[in-house]
C-alpha cells in the first residue's frame, strides 16, 4: 500500500493529500460544533422538604430510550375566567407527579418552556404547584 502511494502520480498524491486534509478539517469542525457542556437530565421524581418534586430536560427526555418518561406543562384558559397551568412528569418506572396553579408568576415561567428547556416543579400536598422553574441554557439544547 505504501509502495503503491509512493509510486503514484503527482496528481494522485495531491488529490489524496487534499482529501486527508479535508477529512481532518471536517472531523475537527464537527468536534468543535458539539463541544460544550450537555445536560442529559432524565425525568426524576423525588421529595424536597417533604414535598413531591420532578425535573427533567425536555430534549434529553424526548430522546431517551425507554419510551415511558415525559415531562411538561399544559395551559388552560376558559371564557368563564380561569387561566391556569398543569405541570406533570412521568419517570421511566411509570411514577407520576403533577401540580396545578393559576399563579401569574408561575404562568409566566411556564410560558418560557421550549423544546430545549429544563423543567423543575414542586407539588404541595393539595395538588397546587409550590414552584415552577425553567432553565434555558446552552447545555439544555
Amino acid at each position: 500500500m505504501i509502495r503503491s502511494i509512493a509510486g503514484a502520480r503527482p496528481q494522485t498524491k495531491l488529490a489524496l493529500g487534499v482529501f486527508v486534509v479535508a477529512l481532518l478539517l471536517g472531523a475537527g469542525v464537527t468536534r468543535v460544533a458539539r463541544a460544550g457542556s450537555v445536560d442529559n437530565t432524565q425525568v426524576s421524581i423525588f421529595t424536597t422538604d417533604g414535598l413531591d418534586a420532578a425535573n427533567g430536560t425536555l430534549r434529553a427526555v424526548r430522546n431517551s430510550g425507554d419510551g415511558t418518561q415525559y415531562i411538561g406543562c399544559s395551559r388552560y384558559a376558559y371564557d368563564t375566567g380561569s387561566d391556569s397551568i398543569v405541570c406533570y412528569a412521568m419517570d421511566s418506572m411509570g411514577a407520576y407527579k403533577s401540580c396545578f396553579t393559576g399563579n401569574d408568576a408561575m404562568l409566566r415561567v411556564a410560558e418560557t418552556l421550549n423544546p430545549a428547556a429544563y423543567l423543575y416543579f414542586v407539588v404541595n400536598a393539595d395538588g397546587s404547584c409550590n414552584r415552577v422553574i425553567t432553565v434555558l441554557a446552552s447545555f439544555d439544547m
Binding site: 375566567g81 391556569s84 406533570y88 411509570g94 403533577s98 396545578f100 393539595d126 395538588g127
Partner: protein
C-alpha cells in the same frame, strides 16, 4: 512634560479640596448646621462660640435632644392621622354579615358527575385516556371554583397513587 502633568494634577487636587471645603462650610463662614443645632448654639453656648469653632459637648447634646424630640413628634402626628383615617372608615360588620348570609352556589350537575366519576375511578385505581377526555369536556361546563377543585382532586389522587396514570401528559 512630567512637570506639566504634576502641575495639572496639583491644580485639580486643589479644586477638589477647595470645593469640598466650601461644601462643608456655610456661606457665613461657620460649619454647616441644622436649624436645631443653630438654635441650641445660640441658646446654650452663647456668644463665646466663635465662628468656625467646634461645637461644645453641651451644645451638641442639646441639639441632638431637640432633633430626636422633633422626630418623635412628627412620627406621633403621622400615627394620629392614620388612626383618625381608620376610625372614619365604615365598620366591616355589614360586609361580614352579608358574606355570612350569602350561601355558596349549588354545585352544578356536571361537577357532581365529575366527582362521582373520580370516586368511581379511584375505587378502580386507574385513570385512562377515556377518563381524561371525559373530564376535559366536563371542565368547560363548570364554574371557576368547581373547575379548580376537581383539577386538584384528580391531581392529588394521581400524586398519591390512588389512580394509576395511563395517559400521556395531563390528566384532563
Amino acid at each position: 512634560m512630567a512637570m506639566t502633568k504634576t502641575v495639572a494634577l496639583v491644580g485639580i487636587l486643589g479644586l477638589i479640596v477647595g470645593a469640598g471645603a466650601m461644601w462643608l462650610v456655610a456661606p457665613d463662614g461657620r460649619p454647616a448646621r441644622t436649624p436645631a443645632m443653630q438654635q441650641a448654639l445660640s441658646a446654650n453656648a452663647g456668644p463665646a462660640v466663635a465662628p468656625g469653632q467646634a461645637l461644645g459637648a453641651a451644645a451638641m447634646r442639646s441639639a441632638i435632644r431637640d432633633e430626636v424630640r422633633a422626630a418623635f413628634q412628627d412620627q406621633a402626628a403621622t400615627i394620629r392621622t392614620k388612626q383618625a383615617a381608620l376610625a372614619k372608615r365604615p365598620a366591616p360588620e355589614d360586609e361580614t354579615a352579608a358574606a355570612t348570609d350569602r350561601e355558596p352556589p349549588a354545585p352544578t350537575p356536571v361537577y357532581q358527575a365529575a366527582r362521582a366519576h373520580l370516586a368511581e375511578r379511584t375505587a378502580q385505581g386507574a385513570w385512562t385516556e377515556a377518563d381524561r377526555d371525559r373530564l376535559r369536556i366536563a371542565l368547560g361546563d363548570m364554574n371557576v371554583d368547581e373547575r379548580q377543585e376537581i383539577m386538584k382532586q384528580v391531581i392529588v389522587a394521581a400524586n398519591r397513587g390512588q389512580i394509576r396514570v395511563q395517559v400521556q401528559g395531563p390528566l384532563f
